[in-house]
């Protein structure tokens, strides 16, 4: 089975992340980026399925030049080929526009016939978690989201979704789109051989024109929602120090009670 995995290049959460002051979008140039950790689970799941059943794994990403690193990492892990949609007009795109571009890229990469699309459950920067559902809608595919287990068989995909109070087993007919959680597997590290092999794997670089998308459908100016203002949280205030003069326990209880912890 041929599998498409959508991945995102995000600012490293360990680094000092911020926003562009001019347009309130995420600053992607000023910090080190990496393949979103949540997408590594999607890549791993696709690799396992492809190894078990044969078939190729294609990784698709959208983003500026440095987003190519997310594709590279997935290829180093073992994916077969990559697609990088890179166009200045994409800057500031919201989830509906992102899903539109992904949908067209997936159609082009699979001649209009994706068999299985896997995504992470959310990005680690925007963390909206809505792109998988929008993408499934645009591709006309059944969507099964937040999978913590995934099995294929008889033209169906079956997933387990762990909720707070219960566990659901859901199946959908193929082709389908599945988003996976960080519980589904343990993503592999690339190997030295994987790093060297990745250099020889094909990566398509497409613009909006290649996908037949009008620039007026995407980008910051055409977003359905807009970040109006960003204010940094005030630094945490100095904690309150209570001196124990024999009544420390009482004071602690009073402190907690005042905040409705007791």
């Amino acid at each position: 089975m041929n599998i498409v995995v959508c991945v995102k290049h995000v600012p490293d959460a360990q680094a000092d992340r911020g926003f562009n002051e001019s347009d309130n979008t995420v600053d992607r140039a000023g910090v080190d980026g990496l393949l979103s950790e949540l997408d590594e689970y999607a890549v791993e799941e696709a690799l396992k399925l492809a190894e078990a059943s044969g078939g190729e794994v294609t990784v698709v990403t959208i983003g500026p030049d440095q987003a190519a690193d997310a594709v590279k990492k997935a290829l180093q892990m073992g994916a077969d080929k990559g697609v990088h949609v890179n166009d200045e007009a994409i800057h500031g795109s919201d989830a509906p526009a992102t899903s539109l571009i992904l949908a067209e890229a997936i159609k082009k990469a699979t001649d209009g016939n994706p068999e299985l699309v896997i995504t992470g459950m959310a990005s680690t920067d925007g963390t909206m978690g809505v792109v998988p559902a929008m993408l499934a809608e645009r591709l006309g595919l059944p969507q099964v989201t937040y999978a913590s287990e995934l099995t294929l068989g008889d033209g169906k995909v079956t997933i387990r979704r762990d909720n707070d109070a219960n566990t659901e087993t859901i199946e959908a007919s193929l082709p389908a789109l599945v988003s996976v959680t960080d519980q589904i597997n343990e993503p592999r590290y690339p190997s030295f051989k994987g790093i060297m092999a990745a250099k020889k794997k094909p990566v398509e670089s497409w613009t909006l024109a290649d996908l037949g998308i009008d620039a007026g459908q995407v980008g910051l100016a055409n977003a359905w929602t807009k970040v109006v203002e960003i204010a940094k949280r005030p630094p945490r205030e100095q904690g309150e120090i209570v001196k124990d003069e024999g009544d420390g326990g009482t004071k602690l209880a009073e402190f907690l009670a005042a905040r409705k912890f007791l």
Binding site: Q76, Y189, F192, I195
Partner: protein, 396 residues
């Protein structure tokens, strides 16, 4: 010349991530418990760390390296050493002392028998040269092997042998006297002793100042019998064979020490920004800032010396540089970097003040781990001897 290739940098990023995620969270505990993490070895094998200098036929990736395989190995040792020196030396010894002698001198059969498991990290191998009474003076070897029918009978003892007693150690190659040459000098040969051979005893682990996580044992051989075909390489060439692996080992120790210096620099910079005294971060004081600046100079110098030596080694493998050039560069890199590493841990401990003396902080572990770098793979004195010889100074 002053930047590693993109491939090297990509590989460095991989080892750095692995070390940060899979090693760092556990090392303090492993160090306290003197625990060798056997399970980590096959995971290092999955990354390809043991196969960097090994041909594909035995599971390695030598052919993929584009002529920079030894440099890649040094990168891996440096990055592991940045997080923990014991894990770094486990790789360094696993490849340099375990795999390399078999790869270089083994018969097709010996290679096929041992290398695939060693490269995959399913097994480790040791090399026994040092004896209780013979260190750098390798010619003073007392361990004896006598050919008795179709078998060698080995008697003697080895000291400080890395990776020799882990649960997955498959074989230890030892040097032994197998006779005397016409000039009366001992004939030294290398013989492979598989783990579990009767008469081969792995002694209790040493109680060491540092490298607590690394597996180190004394070995004794009491009428230990192995088949004649366990001879590794030519009979009588054991010493010469060993000398050829020395330069690799020295550059590897230099890479390990470099990882330590970089760690001391990063830790010191971070601490001096956040730790306050008299209402200000301590880094504001020149008394703190100047030694940290010295650490940066050491890290830079050590980087250049180490990777120049590694590059020369790769170039020598390709037939473009001489063995003598590598020897000199290896001794210079090892001498400078190991001595700088000891100084670096002393500086970092001073920056950390009382906290530097506490095991809750990583500095104390590195402080304990540093000293051996000036001793293993040839002491600083031996390196100076080698450098002096290459300068053409009169030899006694």
């Amino acid at each position: 010349m002053f930047e590693l290739s993109q491939d090297h940098q990509d590989f460095r990023a991989l080892v750095r991530q692995f070390a940060a995620e899979e090693v760092e969270p556990h090392v303090a505990q492993w160090d306290r418990d003197s625990h060798f993490p056997t399970d980590l070895v096959p995971r290092m094998g999955d990354l390809g760390l043991f196969g960097l200098v090994v041909p594909e036929a035995f599971g390695g990736s030598l052919e993929d390296s584009d002529g920079g395989s030894f440099t890649n190995l040094c990168i891996a040792i440096e990055e592991l050493g940045y997080v923990d020196q014991s894990i770094g030396i486990t790789l360094s010894a696993g490849v340099g002392l375990g795999i390399n002698p078999i790869l270089t001198y083994g018969t097709a059969e010996q290679k096929q028998r041992f290398l695939p498991d060693l490269v995959a990290g399913r097994a480790l191998a040791g090399f026994g040269l040092t004896e209780p009474d013979a260190g750098s003076d390798a010619g003073a070897t007392r361990t004896r092997a006598t050919l008795d029918g179709a078998e060698w009978t080995v008697n003697g003892a080895k000291a400080f042998i890395t990776n020799s007693g882990t649960d997955i150690t498959s074989v230890v190659t030892v040097t032994a006297r197998t006779g005397e040459g016409a000039d009366g000098r001992p004939e030294i040969s290398a013989i492979m002793i598989p783990s579990g051979t009767p008469g081969f005893t792995v002694e209790a682990p040493y109680h060491k100042l540092g490298w607590h996580i690394s597996d180190t044992h004394g070995l004794t051989f009491d009428n230990c019998r192995v088949p004649q075909e366990n001879l590794l390489g030519e009979r009588g060439a054991g010493f010469k064979q060993f000398l050829k692996t020395l330069d690799d080992g020295r550059i590897a120790i230099s890479a390990l020490a470099l990882g330590m210096i970089r760690r001391m620099l990063d830790e010191s910079v971070a601490y001096s920004k956040t730790r306050t005294a008299f209402g200000k971060p301590i880094g504001i004081n020149q008394g703190v800032a100047f030694p940290i600046a010295d650490l940066a100079v050491m890290a830079e110098t050590a980087t250049v010396l180490t990777y120049k030596a590694a590059w020369l080694k790769d170039e020598q493998e390709a037939g473009r540089r001489s063995v003598a050039e590598v020897k000199k560069a290896a001794a210079i890199a090892k001498l400078y970097t190991s001595e700088a590493a000891v100084t670096a841990t002393r500086i970092a401990t001073q920056v950390f003040g009382g906290n530097g003396f506490m095991e809750e902080y990583p500095i104390a572990r590195f402080y304990r781990d540093a000293k051996i770098l000036e001793i293993g793979e040839g002491t600083s004195e031996v390196q100076r001897m080698v450098i002096g010889r290459h300068l053409g100074l009169p030899q006694g």
